[in-house]
Amino acid sequence: MNFSLLMILLTPFFGGLLAYAASALHKSVRNIFFLIFMLIPFVELPVYLNKTVDNFYYLTILGQNLSLGINPLSSMMLLLFTLIFFLSSIFMMFEFNDRGEEGDLAVLELSFLEGAVFGVLLARDILTFFIFFELMAVLVFFLVGKGYKEAHTAQMKYITWALIGANSMLAAIVLLLFKAGNIGYTEIAGYLSTAPTSIVLVTFILFAIGFLIEASIMPFHVWTPITYAEAPDSVSVVLASVVKKVGLYLFALFAFSLFGLNLFSKLLPQVLNNSLVMYILQWIGALTIIIGTFIAIVQEDAKKILAWSSVAQSGYILLGLSLGTPLGVAGGLLHIINHSIFKGLLFFVVGGVIYRTGTKNLPELGGLIKKMPVSFISMLLGIIAVAGIPPLNGFNSKYLIYEALIQKNEPILLTIALLGGTGSFMYVYRLIHSIFLGQLHEEHESVREVPLIMQIPMIVLALLALLFGVLPGIPMYFVSKVEAFLGLDPIKYNLTGFPEQPGLHAGNVPVISITFVAGLVVAGLLFYLLPRARKVHQLDNYYAGEVLTKDVKYNYSFGFYSFFDDIIAPFNKWSVESVYESFVGFIKTAGDYLRRVYTGNLETYVSFGVILLVIFSLIYILGGILW
C-alpha cells in the first residue's frame, strides 16, 4: 500500500486524538490506541527508504506552495525516531499510570510531539519546518511541566530559549522569502549560491542560533540540564534522543544542502583549510565537549549527569559535522544514531530506577545490582557505549571522528576530543557505581526489577547498541546514503568495519570485539578458578581498623570526585549561566524603569496628550521644518 507523505505526517496527530478520546472509556483502551498508532509509522516508512521525493504540495499560503519531501537524511532519522517514540510510549504508560487526567494529556501531547517532529523532518520548504518546529516547542513546554519539583523553572527557561531561537529563525525566513521570493529548499539553495555575502552570513547565523539552541550547544545550552533533569523520564528520553537531534538534523541539512560547503569556502576567508564559519563551529563543538564533560563529572543528580553528558555528546556531533570531510561528517552522523540509542538507553534505566525507588539523587542510591540485574546489565552496556569502547556502538562513531581530526591535522581539537572521551568514562562510572554497586540502603530492601514490559525499551536499545557496535555496517548503510545526498564522497565500509577506507586503521570491528570479550572471559576464568577468592557478606568485613555496621556507608557516594572538583574549581567561576543571569537582571531593571511611564497620576496622563499637541503645533508654526 502506498502511503503518501501527508498520511505519514498525520498519523501521530490522529492517533493522539483517538487515544485521548478513548481515555474517556478506560485507561487501557487509551494505551492500546496509543501504542498501535506509535507502531504504524514502522509500516508506512519502509516504502520511502530508498527514495528522494520532492514537491508534494499540500497547502498554498501567502502565495507560496508548502510542500513535503523525503530524503535519505530524513528517512534515516524518521526510522530512528519512530523507534524511540514507541519505546518511550511504553515507558510513559507506566510512568503516568496513576496520574489520571495528566496521563491522558501526556499521551495526547507525546503523540502530537511525534507528529510535529515528523513535520520538521518531512518539510521541504523553510516555512513548513518552522511551523512544526514551533509546534514542537509548545508541546515540549507542556510535557516538561508534568515532571519533578523544579519543572516550572525548567519550563520558563526552556520556553524563553525556544522563543529566542524561533524568532531568530523567523527573522531569517522572512528575510530569505523577501529576497529570494520562494520558500522551497531547492529554490533557496539556488538563490543563496548567488547572494551577497552579508545575506548569506546573516541568515546562516540566525538559523544557526535557532538550531544550536535546540541542539544544546554552548553557549545556548543553559536550558538543557534543568529541563532534561526535571522532565518526566519518558519525556527526557524523547528530549535527549529526538528533540536535540532535530536541531542537529536541521543544522546538517541547512549547512550542507541549502548553504553548501562550497559557498562558505567561496565567500569567507580560509583558516587552516576550513572556511572560517566551519572552523569557528569546530571550536564551539570542542568547547561544548570539554565543558559539558567536566561539569557532568561533579553532578550529584543522576539525570543531571545524563543531561550534561548529552550536551557534551552534541559537541562531538557538531565537531564531526563541521569538519566537512567525508570521514568527519560520517562520524557526526553515525554519532547521531549511536547517541540516540545509548543515551535513550541510559535515561530508560535511570527512569526505571526512579520508578522503583522514587529518587534520582545519587547519594541516596546504591547497591541495586542484586535487586535490578537486568537494569544493571543494560546500564553497563550503555556506559561502555558512552565511553566509546568496543564492542558497543559509541566506539565506531568516536573512532571516525578521531581519525577525521587526525586527517585534518588538528592536534588541539583531537586532544580535547580525547579528553572528553576519558572524562565521559569518569562520569558514567560514577553513575553505575552510585546506583548499582556499593551498599544497599535499607529503604530499598523491597525494591524489585521494573515490570517486564517496562524492561523492553532497555533491552531493545541495549541489544541495538551491541548490534550496531559489532556490525557497524548496518547504520553505515544509512549514513553513506546520507553522505551521498549531502554531496560528499561516502566512506567505504562493509558489514564489519572499514577495511578499505584509506586512513582508517581498524579494519574489522567484530575481530576487535571478540578480542575484547575474550580478554574478559580469560579474566573471569582466572578469577573463578584460582582459589584465592572467598565469598563473604558485604558487612562481614574489616576496614581500616573498624568493623562495619549497617548504618555507615563505606562506599563513596557523596562528593565522589571531590578531588576533581578541586582541580577545576578556579574555572568554575566562569559560568555561562551567570553571564546570562546578569544580562537578564540588567534588562529587567531597565524595563522596570521604562514601565513607570504609566504613573497613575491624572495630570501626567493629560499632559502627555497636551505635549503631543504642542509638538505638532510647533511643527505647524515653524512652517513644517520637520515635515
Binding site: R595, R596, V597, Y598, T599, G600, N601, L602, E603, V606, S607, V610
Partner: protein, 113 residues
Amino acid sequence: MIFYVSALLIIGIGIYAIIIKKNLIKIIIGLDLIETGINLLIVSIGYINGKTAPIFSKGVMNASRMVDSVPQALTLTSIVIGASELALAAAFVVLLYRKYGTLDVRKIRSLRW
C-alpha cells in the same frame, strides 16, 4: 476675530485647570470650560458678517440673509453631549468622595504602572 481668540483662551484655561488643579470639582469645571470654549469657537466660525440668526421669521425668509446654520446644529448637539458627559463625571466624583473621603486627585493613585 476676537471671538476666536477668546474661545481659544477659554479652551486654554480649561486645559490649565485639568493639568494644574488638584481638586476633582475644579477638574470637572475645567472640562466644562473646554467644552464651552469649543462651542463658542464653532458658533463664531459659522458667523458671517452682516447676516442674522438662522430662524425663519417675518422679514427673514431667505437663506441668503442668514448666517451658516450648520454650526448652530453642531453646537446644539455638542451642548447636549457635554451636559450628559459632565453629569456622568459628577456621578463619578460623588462615588470617589464616598470611597476615598477626599477630593484631592493626588491621593487617588492606587492603580499605577
